[in-house]
Amino acid sequence: MTDDTLMDQPHGPGIAAPGTILYVDSVTVSFDGFRALNELSLVIEPGELRTIIGPNGAGKTTMMDVITGKTRPDQGDVLFDGHVDLTKMTEDQIANLGIGRKFQKPTVFEHLTVFENLELALKCKRDTLSTLLFRLSGEQQHRIDQVLGTVGLKDKPRMLAGALSHGQKQWLEIGMLLMQDQRLLLLDEPVAGMTDAETEATAELILDLHKDPHHSLVVVEHDMEFVRALGARVTVLHEGSVLAEGSLDAVQANAKVVEVYLGR
């Protein structure tokens, strides 16, 4: 359980990690005694693109759950922008700080149209009253059209999201992430279920986002081809901790990594 004296301390002065966009320090999460994350530590620098690989059950999704407020860690620190303590915030507060997420299982609003899904994701004031009185400006309309083009759904704005194919839902969700215009983007297996062409296009899109120093990206992926295409620093997770970190070639040559992937 959490240490009371630690809880009582105001965050900020005690823990700070200047020059990082995401700072995860010895985070542990247990489910009924099973440690899904085991003293996990990870640092992402502003503007960085990072890929995370690891066998099924390594804790990749759980790590994203902790960063986005869905799961509270049993212990450890999670800081955004070097000083904001995420472990005490709700999902919506974290989203409004500038952290966006694409889920492993595509989750779009099936009873709303493609356009409406993007409109809900649009970056704007999101309190209840502003939402009630919201009117789409020409500029915002233009932005939605732009994203519709980027994700290849230009001819389907009025289609119900529930009627899209699996791959299109993935794209729509990526579109929703773009609409939010966040500083830290977490993508959980974004190319699962995509064709090779779609996978390639997604890699291009991610590299494009990476060009803007305003964006920091964390991409979880199984597809080694895709990870190679991103050409970014790779972190290998295993049993809830970091097993190795470095270039893709370096981690692939790492004996511990080879054992985890091939040794069983």
């Binding site: 709700t90 999902e91 989203a95 099936e110 939402t131 919201f134």
Partner: protein
């Protein structure tokens, strides 16, 4: 300006205004005309009792629209809406009790009869202000609204969802029923509030007053229609539907699900309170049985039968189910609860979108046939 022209342009909107106008003509013009202008022996004459009965159904329709806002659009199955309806009814009932003045059985100008009977010497503090109509009218909205706000805040903040929320709202209305049954509460106990004489100086036994209440109810239903439409057609309406379909996903987009649900729940409770306040002068009594948990379940059934998540569905459902209830409780009262249960099962299994869905399905089939 932009928003108004936008409302009139697309075909869905034109359908809405056509339906809205048709309902307006039916309830605001046709029913009063058939009542007032036709001789009593005419086959088309609408008798006075029927006007009051329709007025009662219109109150149920407002209540059903309120329920639909929070359940049909936002996915929060409140089974305590009967409580908000009853509280609105009690608030206006208190005003009407105070307007009786010295005309009660005991001739006491300062206390309602039931308090004299209980040997009370002075009016409890929470009755103060209810001699003014404006105050009572405010309380009709403020009390259900405040209760819903506090209750909802506690429940939604702790993420009490689905069947758990349904259970705690049932418990809420049940607790209120037990409380209002107690004489010491000061709301007339078992008997509730009744023997009203007039409202705003209009004699409640007069046909003209009854017609006035009927017309007022119709106008309020119309206003409720426009309000629900405004909310559900807004971006907030789409967020509500998103909450209904994938609540946790909405949070990750930065919306406060607690705030959205609280808005829908509170607004819905205020509308339910208004419905109750229109209902009580027309039926002449409000007592604790209005809080009974079964009443709140019935409201959900009206909405399910009519079609949840649709604008017109709740109105259709309220009329259809209550029409059947009026008829059956006359013909074979012991069968009503079975019929209601059967109806609920039928709708759940066979008509997930209710009467509105059935109609849309039939229309689609006819168009298909004529295209062959």
């Amino acid at each position: 300006m932009h928003s108004l022209s936008h409302l009139f342009l697309n075909p869905g909107d034109r359908r809405f205004w056509a339906g809205f106008t048709a309902l307006g003509v039916l309830f605001l013009l046709l029913v009063p005309a058939l009542n007032l202008l036709l001789p009593a022996d005419s086959a088309l004459h609408v008798p006075n009792y029927m006007v009051t009965l329709i007025g009662k159904y219109l109150c149920y329709a407002i209540l059903a629209m309120a329920m639909n806002l929070v359940w049909g659009y936002c996915g929060v199955l409140s089974l305590g809406h009967g409580a908000f309806f009853a509280l609105g009814g009690y608030a206006i009932g208190m005003y009407m009790m105070r307007s009786i003045g010295a005309r009660g059985v005991y001739g006491n100008a300062d206390l309602p009869d039931f308090m004299v009977f209980l040997n009370w010497k002075e009016l409890p503090w929470y009755w103060l202000g209810f001699d003014h109509f404006w105050f009572a009218a405010l309380m009709v909205m403020a009390i259900p609204g405040a209760l819903a706000f506090v209750f909802g805040w506690l429940a939604f903040r702790s993420r009490i969802n689905g069947v758990y929320l349904s259970i705690v709202t049932q418990a809420m209305t049940y607790a209120l029923m037990l409380a209002f049954f107690r004489n010491e509460m000061g709301f007339g106990g078992n008997n509730g509030l009744t023997d009203f004489k007039d409202i705003l100086g209009f004699d409640l036994s007069q046909d003209a007053t009854k017609m006035g209440l009927y017309l007022l109810t119709t106008l309020v239903l119309g206003a409720t229609f426009l309000l629900v439409r405004f909310v559900t057609a807004s971006k907030l309406g789409r967020v509500m539907m998103a909450v209904r379909d994938a609540e946790s996903r909405v949070r990750f987009l930065g919306y406060s699900v607690t705030g959205v649900k609280l808005f829908a729940f509170t607004l819905s409770a205020v509308l339910a309170g208004i419905a109750g306040a229109l209902y009580v002068p027309q039926v002449g009594i409000i007592n604790p049985s209005e809080f009974s948990p079964a009443n709140s379940i019935e409201i959900a059934i009206w909405v399910a039968v009519g079609g949840r998540g649709t604008l017109l569905g709740p109105v259709l459902g309220a009329f259809a189910v209550n029409g059947a209830k009026t008829w059956l409780t006359g013909a074979a009262p012991e069968l009503w609860l079975f019929a209601l249960g059967a109806l609920f099962i039928l709708v759940t299994l066979a008509l997930p979108k209710g009467l509105v869905g059935l109609w849309a399905g039939l229309r689609a089939r006819v168009t298909e046939k004529s295209n062959d």
